[in-house]
Amino acid sequence: MADPLSRRNFLAGVGAAGAALLLPRSGAVAGAVDPILSGRPLVRYPQKTDLILLTSRPPQLETPMKYFDRAITPNEAFFVRYHVFPIPTRVDLAEWRLRVGGLVDRPLELPMADLREKFPAVAITAACQCAGNSRGRFSPRVLGGQWGDGAMGNAEWVGARLRDVLQAAGVRTGAVDVTFNGLDAPAFPSVPDFVKSLPVARVMDWPEILIAYQMNGQPLPMLNGFPARLVVPGWYSTYWVKNLSEITVTDQPFEKYWMKPAYRIPDTPCGCVEPGTVPVRTVPISWMRTRSFIAAPENGARVPAGAPVPLKGIAFDGGYGIRAVEISDDGGRTWRTTTLGPDLGRYSFREWSARWMPATEGAHTVMVRALNGVGESQGMEPLWNPAGYLRNVVEHIDLEVG
């Protein structure tokens, strides 16, 4: 992990490395065998390592699968997803304040020192996944960010409880929603600003929602929300507002663009509809469905015959924790359990590993599925919805043995 970035050495580092650091890595492309990622450039953004470019403005950067062989995703490899532009590129903590207002007794303007010192610091390890992660794999295809599987990451977040901050402000009777706004703001007034909301009852009943100012022991990278972001464990990251600057308690349901019609799923038990059809009713997306991935070996790799192949990956869910991860090499007819890594909490990625012995030389497919704490698993057939959310089908890799 990188050394703490003081103002001096951080700015100096950017200057010394010069423009070469910021340019797309010429010729370097992602995932040659992956139909969605094939041909996408690897780019290096400030405070980040080489990530897969989805879009430039607003920036959307995807984490390569190789980083998911471990539970904690390095800050420099953590995915980036903004909705509007310009995004903040400079934050001075001497000026930054977190404003808490609306239907409260005592509006607050908290400097970072207050956020750190006036509220208990709470640590939680939680997975952060874009609602549309793996959207590129939907069939029939859907419009939107054509992510592969790397719009996800897992970190130890430290921050103040949102509930503690709201209690300090004193939420008044009649409060309905709490809205969250960050420093990103569209250039044109007609473009809806990225503002999200959570029901106030839910927020006051859920002490694990944090205003996080630390990520894996470091300040957050700018592109992951410096100096603070909301952490809503178990819920898709659309709610994890970055570069947080404004919290407002409302007396009406908040239904601006990014809550309605955006980021909604069919109001059906599966959150899905018949492929190609339109849902009758929708609700805001919320908790994450169970998923698991094989990160090593790389999809499409050639492995030696006659020796066990070490497999590694991660699994996660919406907050009940992972109970088991299983693999299959016969198309899902039989499954065998894998070894789980340390339990970092019920919202965290859970590492798993296995040694798989190929029976023959030639082409093999290895599948993976997880089971969470309340028995939710993953289906063999993908579920579909028109916005391309909630993907959690059984994943696989193809290997060439020998």
């Binding site: 950017v14 780019v43 403005r57 001497a94 010192e117 044109f188 809806p192």
Partner: protein, 104 residues
């Protein structure tokens, strides 16, 4: 096993203060990436779309016919308020349907 968040003690608070020592962070974003395919209507498309976003927002999308691209352009105008007149909108839809149409 269910683990609830741990309220950290003074030791971690102290280290957090060290980790948060930066008082100003500034970054410079790299130049934009991506180009549109050449063809009639490319310039008007590029000019209109780049007002708000890079063109890779277009080039990553699934290929689609006029209905798909008409829907996209209408959403940009009606929902996001893109200042695109109806003549330009028609030219953009025609360009996108040809350059990024089915089978392209």
């Amino acid at each position: 096993m269910i683990r609830t968040p741990v309220v950290l003690l003074a030791a971690l608070l102290a280290s957090a203060r060290v980790a948060g020592a930066a008082d100003t962070v500034a970054i410079t974003l790299p130049p934009e990436h991506g180009t549109l395919k050449p063809g009639p209507g490319m310039e008007v498309t590029q000019k209109a779309c780049q007002m708000c976003h890079s063109v890779d927002y277009i080039t990553i999308q699934p290929r689609g016919g006029e209905a798909q691209w008409r829907g996209v352009v209408t959403k940009m105008v009606k929902v996001f308020g893109a200042p695109i007149g109806s003549e330009d909108a028609d030219a953009i839809v025609e360009y996108l349907s040809r350059a990024y149409g089915p089978g392209r």
